[in-house]
């Protein structure tokens, strides 16, 4: 090498080392920033979802324990009214019928807010209950296949229930599907939820970029709170498939 080239070569080495250091510093700062952002985001998400669940529980409790008995008392008083006119009797009977409808509706709303079956009989029973009572009239056939050993801590159970509720609700509301199959099982310290339907599907990438509602985001948020991962495969007229997997160990720790 000429002496000029030796100088140049040294300059190249110095430039490479400096650029290398800058790139390494940049990479490390990006990793740190993302770690902080993820932690903060996860904490915020968990706080928001927990407060939503608490608020739902409070509303469900108020509806069930306060409004329910009051309406039952009104119904009882109304039924004890003694009237001679046939027209009045008919009016009272109609009112009693409507009152029954209101009480049933309030119970259903309260159940939707916080499904008591989830607390007392577990995830699978609660999901099956939801399917039997709220989806049966929609024309959608839902097949729930599950591992009998699926037992989750309550914290995870409520999120898993909401995820399944959202999937079923989305299928009824948007998919125009006639069949939905759901599988829930545990494997290697993970809970896995799989589903597929024969509906119209949607453009997943567009829906992620320009969401029309909160449904898809809610699925992502709840999966994140569970420290899990979610994969969705959907194409127009080819149905929608979900794959959700979350660890059971984290749930036991929280």
């Amino acid at each position: 090498m000429y002496s000029k080239e030796t100088t140049l070569y040294r300059a190249i080495i110095i430039a490479v080392v400096i650029i290398g250091c800058i790139i390494v510093y940049f990479i490390l700062s990006v990793i740190r920033a993302q770690k902080r952002y993820r932690k903060l985001n996860s904490q915020n998400l968990e706080a928001v979802i927990t407060s939503i669940e608490k608020e739902r529980g409070r509303i469900a409790c108020d509806l069930h324990d306060e409004l329910g008995p009051v309406l039952s008392a009104v119904k009882f008083k109304l039924s004890s009214v003694d009237v001679s006119s046939e027209i009045d009797k008919k009016t009272i009977n109609q009112s009693l019928f409507q009152m029954d409808g209101i009480i049933r509706k309030i119970r259903a709303i309260a159940y939707n807010f916080t499904p008591s079956a989830l607390q007392h009989k577990g995830l699978l029973f609660a999901v099956q209950h939801y399917i039997d009572h709220y989806i049966s009239g929609s024309g959608l056939k839902v097949v729930l296949v599950s591992d009998a050993a699926v037992e989750l801590p309550h914290h995870a159970e409520i999120h898993a229930y909401r995820i399944l509720q959202e999937i079923i609700y989305n299928t009824v509301k948007h998919a125009k599907a006639t069949e939905l199959k759901i599988e829930i099982y545990t494997a290697k310290d993970h809970c896995i939820i799989l589903s597929c339907d024969n509906g119209v599907g949607f453009n997943y990438k567009d829906a992620r970029r320009h969401p029309s509602g909160q449904g898809l985001q809610s699925l992502y948020n709840r999966t994140e709170v569970l420290r899990g991962e979610i994969h969705i495969e959907s194409k127009p007229s080819k149905g929608t498939k979900y794959h959700i997997k979350f660890p059971l160990i984290h749930q036991n720790q929280t």
Partner: protein, 217 residues
């Protein structure tokens, strides 16, 4: 470092190539362009060895290789939805690269000469897009970046192509007068190449498996 060591360092592309071959069926489809990029790189190394062994010039195959490399990387960026907000971005950039490559090789004979303008342009493009992807990952990736294949691959691109830009600038200014100087610059390139190949190998190991879905029976 002698010529054999440079060859060995360049052969480090064998590591990600083998890992990619083993994992190909199970990895997500969106990473296929990157895997093809690795394999094309490996294929080019083999072709280069054969040509060098016979005493020929490797410029011809390298010129074809870098066009394929640039287009495959661009395709990979497309698979990562980089052009979501500007859907024609992929076509515009790919067409620009092909045009510049074509202008660098105005006639068939010029395929045997090094296309510096194209090399500088595509290296710069890859570095800039990689930095953009890395920054956007901070807000979109929901797991650790250290194990994110996209993050690792983009860092590999940034490191390798930044040095490539530096080297190409020297050649553009005609600073490659002696063979000894060129070899010294290529030795640094060989080290960086080996390092990025290790990053690529790790990235391929981190590529998530295709999710398993159920079907309606």
């Amino acid at each position: 470092m002698n010529h054999l060591q440079v060859v060995l360092f360049s052969s480090s592309v064998l590591i990600p190539s083998v890992i990619a071959a083993m994992k190909f069926r199970s990895v997500e489809r969106s990473f296929y362009p990157f895997i093809f990029f690795i394999w094309v790189g490996f294929l080019n190394e083999i072709v280069s060895y054969i040509i060098s062994f016979r005493g020929g010039s490797t410029t011809f195959n390298n010129n074809l290789y870098i066009l394929a490399e640039a287009l495959l990387i661009l395709w990979q960026f497309k698979e990562w939805d980089i052009f979501a907000s500007f859907k024609k971005g992929f076509v515009v950039l790919a067409a620009s690269l092909i045009i510049v490559w074509g202008l660098d090789h105005g006639n068939k004979q010029s395929l045997g000469s090094i296309n510096l303008n194209f090399r500088l342009l595509y290296s710069l493009m890859i570095v800039l897009i990689s930095i953009h992807v890395n920054n956007s990952l901070v807000f979109t990736v929901r797991r650790s970046l250290v194990k994110s294949p996209v993050f690792l691959i983009c860092n590999g691109f940034t490191i390798y192509f930044t040095y490539k830009i530096l080297a190409e600038v020297f050649w553009i200014y005609g600073l490659n007068t002696t063979k000894a100087f060129r070899i010294d610059v290529y030795i640094i390139m060989a080290w960086i190449n080996a390092f990025t190949n290790i990053i690529y190998a790790f990235a391929i190991l981190c590529i998530p498996k295709k999710p398993h879905y159920i079907e309606l029976s």
